[in-house]
Symmetry: none
Subunit: 206 residues, 4 copies
DNA sequence: TATGAATGAGGTTTCATTCAT
DNA sequence: AATGAATGAAACCTCATTCAT
């Protein structure tokens, strides 16, 4: 994902499971404490090794973050692209995107939480420009679907579509901050409840 | 708010304008860059002084954060308590709380953004235990109102009230991440749109 | 000695020689310049490393001081306890304590000098409360022996025993301020001279 | 005392009582906490003013120390010189010097304590060279008297006179660390007890 | 005389990173 | 693969000192 990856420590692609383990550990700590507040030593502690040893596996703390986020976004877009390629109606598209999003939160909770908290600052770094690309595609997919729904008469025309987009987008992703995999609700159940609220409202109809 | 406030630099309460100016500056930088990524030098630069000079006014970077958050929460609860004391019906209470919340975002955008991003880690520090207290009161107010609404038959009984609470709560506060005071929408307009969406849904009624 | 010693850098107890070397270096500088006037950079210079590198081995400048003093006191009390356990007569006990003291000065000159200069302020810090404990035991041992000697008729009854205790105590320990190991006088020789003066006086007998 | 005293704040000789008050305050704090550990703010707090205000009265923290020490030494030498000019016998000279010393401790306890703790480092600063001068005169007076006493047969010849000098000198001055003016013993009484111990010993004569 | 606010140098500490083993 | 020790930059903070009022 990041543009320039010299030969670097990617060479260790020979033992990718260890890499993945370490990245998962790092992601948990980043999510719990914030990227800046996370020292490389904390990650190493959590992984049962010394700080310096991490540099056998990764170029830098930043490259860990990079790999966590880019891996997540790659998988996210696989799911989204499948949904978008299905050419569903606007309501069904929204339902599918929301459901897919909660599934991603289930699979990549830490990465989503990191993305939420850090992406704003990171976008400024050349290495993380791909975050901006992703955001643009994201907005296009969601906003487009909402607009199509308004045009088709399935979504209300009296709401500011841009405001609605922001509300919907944020509420979905911020769920990563409280969601715990294996909890009371499956991702699909959460998606169902959320969609029911957003589509039909919480008020009893007169 | 924070437990031990010796005589310390709080003594300068005599000339609070400069203090407030500096705290506003600090809050902007914290909100823009994140608390940990904000160096005390950046704050000083933004305030047009040297880093060390900040310590004439404040004990530490952390105490600036403390004062920003506690001031915000104090004002927030003044507004909330007024609403709760009015003994409105559940729907009207939700409407008033949402409107009040967007007004607070309008007034304390930076503080709200900081609160959103940092409160999770901060709660662990004894000094910031009051954040947890506030969260508990917050949950009680919102969740209680939703439950009362369900009991009264004004809110739908088929939605998980706890999930609904989380969605509603998050959507309100994340707005601080994109809201710009003086922008296209007034806080009241945003609240209206938001309430319309959450209460009645975005789908056109069958 | 100090109450809370998390895992921290004490963990390096596996390779204690480097630690001890560095502490010896630090003790020399502390003794020569005073604890407060000693910058951590001066210690690092004397040790041939950079200031930051010291923090690989120690938590803080204060913890270096703590370890220097507590190590010294531990060894001192080993010697003292052996003397006190021997149940000698009062005069012989004083002789043995004085001799042991000068031996400790010989072995831990820097630590003793630091103790002399800094213990008064340090006792106020919770971390250094053990200094007060040590002082109490110290007083009990010396004062008790003097009192026993007076009761037994081997020490003069016309002197204020408390004043005498202070004079004796001080004279022993201030020696650390001028004593140089390997100098003209061995610790035992100094002890002998000192005991002769204190026991029999410097005046020629009438 | 200190060589170069430009026009400086000595100009305030108009109101010398305030000056003296402030110096007494400063001396107490220096003695209690050590010169380096004493911030100018602590002195100002103790004097009931702000740190900056001290600079109306004094050029610098160092010049306060200078004035405290030089004033003390001036008075000390007035007393010593009177004793030395009296041409007493060696034993009577020692008695008079010790008595005079305890009187100085009574009058200048803080200054003596500071002198004890700080003079070693200070001597290196040009401004405080006079401390070295004083030490030389001091040694000459005491050591000379002891040697004269040995030659005259009033002091024992079997003791190392240099060691004895150090013991006597240190024990006298270190008393400043525990002496409290207005306590159980007058300076003269302490001197009597001390002289009795040092001259005749604490052991009962066989 | 004293205050309030600031400066600027320097101190302690943290931390990502490197590297020989 | 990992350790142990160190580097060096930069962070937070302290403090003597200055100065307009």
């Amino acid at each position: 994902m990041s543009a320039t990856k010299k030969k670097s420590n990617q060479a260790n692609a020979a033992a990718p499971e260890r890499r993945r383990e370490l990245l998962d550990t790092a992601a948990e700590v980043f999510a719990a404490q914030g990227y800046n507040a996370t020292t490389v030593r904390k990650i190493a502690d959590a992984a049962g090794m010394l700080a310096g040893s991490l540099y056998y596996h990764f170029d830098s703390k930043e490259s860990m973050l990079d790999e966590i986020l880019s891996t997540f976004l790659t998988e996210l877009w696989e799911g989204y692209d499948a949904v978008l390629a299905a050419s569903l109606g606007p309501r069904e598209t929204i339902e599918a995107l929301v459901t897919e999003s909660f599934r991603e939160i289930d699979r990549h909770r830490a990465a989503v939480a990191i993305y939420q908290k850090e992406s704003r600052h990171l976008v400024d770094l050349p290495r993380f420009h791909y975050l901006a690309d992703s955001q643009r595609r994201f907005e296009k997919a969601w906003l487009g679907t909402l607009e199509r729904g308004v045009a088709d008469g399935v979504f209300r025309a009296d709401l500011d579509v841009r405001l609605t987009y922001r509300f919907v987008r944020d509420t979905v992703w911020v769920a990563a901050s409280w969601y715990r995999p294996g909890g009371r609700h499956s991702p699909e159940e959460i998606a169902r409840q959320y969609l029911s609220m957003v589509l039909d409202g919480i008020a009893v109809r007169a």
